[in-house]
Symmetry: C2
Subunit: 306 residues, 2 copies
């Protein structure tokens, strides 16, 4: 059985405070604290890039658990902002981490649904190919494509990276997955000429419409009831979307973590940043669901077995 054994992360120390932008973007404390729920956004330091943030997340992982690099057979990076389009950044990372030559490496291009998708991709790939130790990275620095004058995105997205150690001695294992795509609505979140555009209202409507329906299906597929779930780990889009989902699905607020006040929406890193804190917890069953770019979503159940 392949699953998540440990998670390491890295969030750059560099921050921009949204309180400093109140006049510029005509917003008040209530908007910052209760609507978007992001007080400061993290930004990469000089000299950092997608791969470098991954190396720093890996260093953090190594502080938590001994890793024999020679045993790593697989490395997958979820990103839509790689160091460059050629080569895949996972290959650059392979070199930086000095991993063995028989290590399979590839990038997967997905946004906010990327971690949950990536978990299914790495688990199934490792299982089919008889692999026992792999690394699933997320690193999608939107600061590379954000126009600082664009309120919609500048005050929301933060840079960060995570790495999940995927092994045959896991702490959390996944159940059945649900995946979905509404490709016809892709224009709500796009990058053109190296500049990000987000139709916040479009993304909000998409999430509010599809996520409750998906969770119902997911629970049925896994033969679980909503009360069997200890935590609902949503992609940390904004406080407003999380609060809306809590209301629409009828969840207990304490079962739904929201924890991005200090760094922002880190795209595919937002879910593993929450799960990281659960590795040593007693949380038995979690729903994890990512949604956004594509538009797309992916969900699964994580069960503690160790």
């Amino acid at each position: 059985m392949i699953g998540i054994q440990e998670i390491g992360s890295y969030i750059p120390s560099n921050r921009i405070s949204n309180y400093d932008l109140k006049d510029k973007f005509e917003m008040d404390d209530n908007f910052i604290e209760n609507k978007i729920g992001v007080q400061r956004v993290s930004r990469m330091l000089d000299g950092e890039d997608t791969s470098v943030m991954c190396v720093k997340a890996f260093n953090n992982l190594e502080q938590k658990i001994d890793i024999e690099k020679g045993e790593i057979e697989c490395l997958i990076l979820i990103t839509q902002n790689p160091d460059s389009n050629i080569p895949h950044t996972s290959a650059v990372l392979h070199g930086l981490l000095d991993l063995p030559e028989n290590c399979a490496c590839f990038d997967v291009s997905l946004g906010c649904s990327g971690f949950v998708y990536g978990l299914s991709i790495i688990e199934s790939f490792m299982q089919r190919n008889g692999m026992k130790k792999g690394l699933l990275f997320t690193s999608d620095p939107y600061s590379k494509i954000i126009d600082p004058e664009d309120k919609n995105t500048q005050i929301l997205f933060g840079d960060g990276a995570t790495v999940s150690l995927i092994t045959d001695t896991p702490v959390y294992i996944s159940g059945k997955y649900n995946f979905g795509t509404v490709g016809k609505e892709f224009k709500n979140l796009i990058c053109t000429d190296n500049s990000l555009y987000m139709n916040g209202r479009g993304i909000f409507n998409f999430a509010a419409r599809y996520v409750p329906k998906d969770i119902k299906q997911l629970l049925e597929k896994n033969e679980l009831l909503i009360d069997d779930i200890d935590k609902f780990v949503f992609h940390q889009g904004s406080k407003y979307i999380i609060d809306t989902l809590i209301k629409r699905i009828g969840l207990e607020k304490e079962k739904v973590p929201f924890d991005i006040q200090d760094y922002g929406n880190t795209v595919s890193s937002s879910i593993p940043l929450i799960i990281e804190k659960e590795i040593k917890s007693n949380t038995n069953k979690m729903v994890a669901i990512g949604f956004g770019v594509g538009l797309s979503w992916a969900s699964t159940i994580l069960t503690k077995i160790n």
Copy 2:
């Protein structure tokens, strides 16, 4: 058992003849015909992009086999030249092809090793998630990043796309896979500032060193002898690399297809373009091996079961 049932393809009709560039690039007929083995390179037509080439490959597939679009549960696109970095081009394609909402879509960033990697990724992902029908696309138009003044790349790479229909009623199924990465050598094939750079000699040395070794390992892993293999489908890098591999491994020339004279090296599409012609053949066992960007490689055995 999940495998390849059919393959469709698209190569743009637009061509540049290398014979017209003989003076400019100081090359003779022997170089064109026997060294690189590419007489003309294909180039996308006005209005085409990565996704549009995929749609045209899909149209070709539909001419060969009836496809119930509502049954497609998974769409993976191998590319390092997507329409844009956000969203993943597979989502755009999902919309263009009018696929169902429960269809999982993602892009995988890999170059010349991408088709073989992608085959393992889609097979394992579909199997783990109980899916029966999927589409594996390759579309990596290097013309988007080639400097027409750069002889190394301008005369070699052609645009094209393929789509493999992956189902539980396959014609070819894969055996065990081998994967490898030498991330420290990634600088031999990179794209910076939207411009491709290739150290042809570096890539050649890499392939000549790693491919023979990998094929030996692959055959052992699959408990096969070299004489059990009817065809060796190498990534179609250039005539010179294919001829070198034939010599170094000691293969019969007629077992090794080379067929890119009329369109060039189409990156991850080069292998499925060869396999496409084998679907209706009596070829029982093939080695498929891709190698390049990363630097990386991937190989497997394809066995006809239908």
